[in-house]
């Protein structure tokens, strides 16, 4: 859920939004009739909440600090840069990569959360990671120059 938010909103806002989504899910869990549908259900709530956030507070959203709190400035910068690079990837790769690299989910878990087949997730992880590696490499080269 947090990763889904990270794919769309700044890091600072993602934590608070995750909390809101949890609370919303907790109070409306009775509307979920099929327990097996929980991952897709909460994923949909999360995406809607992120869209809602961006629609209502576009200007503020841009100003929100994307650096992770608690880490050293260098680590915060590197994490923000990596997040930025992931967000620049095609939409199909963003959520799987964030779920895998940030939240530590397995391919099967990602498939359940994103509502994709395992094969699609496998391909997205594979292609997404390689594309991310290229982009991060290009950025580092740019910085070195």
């Amino acid at each position: 859920m947090h990763a889904i938010l990270l794919a769309r909103v700044p890091h600072d806002a993602a934590g608070d939004l995750a909390q809101e989504v949890f609370l919303h899910a907790w109070t409306t869990i009775r509307s979920l009739r099929e327990p097996a549908a929980f991952p897709g259900w909460i994923g949909a709530i999360t995406r809607n909440r992120a869209l809602d956030f961006l629609r209502r507070r576009p200007a503020e959203a841009e100003l929100v600090n994307d650096r992770a709190a608690g880490a050293s400035p260098q680590l915060q910068y590197e994490a923000a840069e990596a997040l930025d690079a992931i967000r620049d990837l095609p939409a199909a790769y963003r959520e799987p990569l964030l779920l895998r690299l940030v939240e530590g989910c397995s391919g099967r878990e990602i498939a359940a959360i994103c509502g994709l087949t395992e094969e699609s997730v496998r391909v997205n992880l594979h292609r997404g990671f390689r594309l991310l590696r290229e982009r991060l490499g290009a950025r580092e080269v740019k910085h070195e120059r």
Binding site: A14, G15, Q19, F22, W26, I29, A79, S106
Partner: protein, 342 residues
Amino acid sequence: MSAENDRLDRYLWDPSATPDPEVRALEQRLASARFDPRRHPLVLPRLSRPGVVAFRTAIALAVAAVAIVAVGLTAYWSWRWSWTAGASWAAEIHNSSDNTTLRTRIAVDTPLQLGETRSARVDIARIGTMNVAPESTFTLAETNSVRHRVVFDRGSVSVRIWAPPGMFAFRTPGGTIRDLGCIFDLAVGPDGTSRVRVDTGWVQMDNDFGESLVPAGASAEMRRAARPGVPIYLDASDVFATAIRSAQNGGDASERRELDTIIRTARRRDVLTLLMLANVSATDIKRVLLERAAELRPAPTGVSVDAIVAGDRDQLWKWHATLDLPPVKSWWRNWRDALPGR
């Protein structure tokens, strides 16, 4: 190179597999972006169970319904009892000779005399109706939100009222007939004697000489310049009823003359009549009546014939209170009297 790619893909798919250095490095780089539950503690609201929600909803709906009904009833009662002072009453006067009905209004201080072929149905403001028989004469004397008074000189009338006690009354030649929330009939003869017959609730008759409370199922008379008569149940024997009326109309001598008949023909239910007659009788007659009443329906604990004869009226009314009579203050229980068609 292929082995490295395999390891990378395996680790990408399964975080528990052998770590790939490049993926691992990126994981560590992004570690600070991971959701930290310590920074976002969740305080979950307590969830109501569906049954509790349904119960609460039902309670809320019930409370709302009761409130709506209460407001509606209050508004209805306020409307029903409110009346502009001096406003005329609606009436329909029916003429049996040509079978015609005239809609009209009865104004204050304007006598209405009905001939032998005319009867009237009159709305008593908004609190009830009265059906006046032919050859009756009456006048609306006073009408407002708290008092409605009709002077009834002669004739007969059937009344249905649903209102607090005393709001409506007839003034007759013999005295005042007060509605205490009921249905009753009143007849006033040429000699000015009023006869009341009560169907529901109570009627009070009073004049300068005293008062008499008449419950449902009983009748009573009130003559000019005489104490109002005691209530006599409609199902009492004719002999008993005649003896009671005769006893009241002829003074002590008549009462002594009728005493034996009264004692002999009284039933358990007639204890009310005996008590009320004893209340206004001479001491020697009072004792005989009370002793007979005690035989038919023993006096309650703490009440004695001797004490009542000695003048303790409170004890007589304690005895009266044990007679299964409708409570005067609960006039509102006769709400059916407010319905049309009774």
